[in-house]
Amino acid sequence: MDSLARLGATVTDSVAGIGRALAMLLGAIIGKPTPRKSWPLFIQQMYVVGVLSLIIIVVSGLFIGMVLGLQGYTILVDYGAEQSLGPMVALSLLRELGPVVTALLFAGRAGSALTAEIGLMKATEQLSSLEMMAVDPLRRVIAPRFWAGFVSMPLLALIFSAVGIYGGYLVGSGWLGVDEGAFWSVMQSAVDWRDDLMNGIIKSLVFAFVVTWIALYKGYRCEPTSAGISKATTSTVVTASLAILGLDFILTALMFGG
């Protein structure tokens, strides 16, 4: 009986959690737009969330592209098909690795920081004081962070893919001697603008939405203690990563499976 009750409690809690998260998001993004007030806040968050994540994205993109070039070459050269290295690198980056790895890194780099920041604001009762001054914390704190994450992650994913393709080109063409013209031209004939590039961007938009939302909700709902903040931060990274990988499978099946 007890275990049945626990199961029931878990289900109600998680459904209530989804409802609260949705309510928080709607409260943050729906309302009269006030560009004069919210634009500087948005820019500030773009700097924190986007610009400061640039280094990890560029470096990991470069290395992942280089590793793809190296590993792909060793297999393709057995079949005399090393000219297909270009499309292999470009397609795997644009379709999968670009959006997914960027989202995972983004969850670790920016998502955890957002959770910790908002959690600490809550623990030190800054959110309550905002409310006492008749400032809506959802509009003032949550909304600019949400938009900043939603806008900056697709940009980061694009930068990741571009740098990765260049890394694959450096290793494949510069080091291993795949013909430079063949590398680009075979890539161009294999990569389609709508099928590959647009689907990759749609994926990264979905991931940006989910990761930022999870990070903000975990911070907003965390226990206002130091242990609670640490738990919320961990939970952000774990939940966001699982959500990214699960959603990626569903999106891939919808986009490329049929």
């Binding site: 820019i43 773009m46 940009l155 890539m187 590039l197």
Partner: protein, 155 residues
């Protein structure tokens, strides 16, 4: 001052992101322009185009002079009709030019091989919209094997 600095960095970030998009769109993915520069259109009817695809190259002696832009069935007998764009740099092909579907290597992609015809006072050159009539279809391996087995059986 602090906010101005972050404004600049955010602006740079957005510019870099858009540049990455442009790099991918122009360098890695294919747009509508398949041959640089001005082109003119030629048509050719085949019996069988094999696995020729849109964007397959048209080559003269291994040099790419154009691309296949459209493949459709045309006429009463539903013959494959290939539309291709040839670079304006090469606009003096004679009317006796022939075209064949060739394969790059044993397992490679198929492409169109263009064999320029002879030039004489009596033959004109191919203009925009002309159709090349002298074409050779793709070799279909199954048919070849079938013919070979058939001819073996007769002996």
């Amino acid at each position: 001052m602090e906010s101005r600095k972050s404004h600049i960095f955010v602006g740079l970030f957005v510019v870099v992101g858009v540049l990455a998009l442009l790099f991918i769109a122009l360098r890695a993915a294919s747009g509508s322009t398949v041959t640089a520069g001005e082109t003119y259109t030629l048509y050719a009817k085949f019996d069988n185009i094999g696995s020729l695809k849109v964007r397959s190259p048209v080559k003269v002696g291994g040099v790419v002079v154009g691309r296949v832009t459209n493949i459709s069935l045309a006429g009463e007998y539903y013959e494959p009709l290939v539309e291709m764009e040839i670079s304006k740099d090469y606009d003096k092909f004679s009317e006796t030019t022939s075209l064949s579907v060739l394969t790059a290597g044993l397992l490679g992609e198929q492409y169109l091989g263009l064999q320029p015809g002879f030039i004489d006072d009596t033959v004109g050159t191919l203009e925009d919209g002309d159709t090349i009539s002298d074409t050779k279809s793709a070799l279909v391996l199954e048919q070849l094997i079938g013919q070979f087995l058939f001819s073996q059986g007769e002996n």
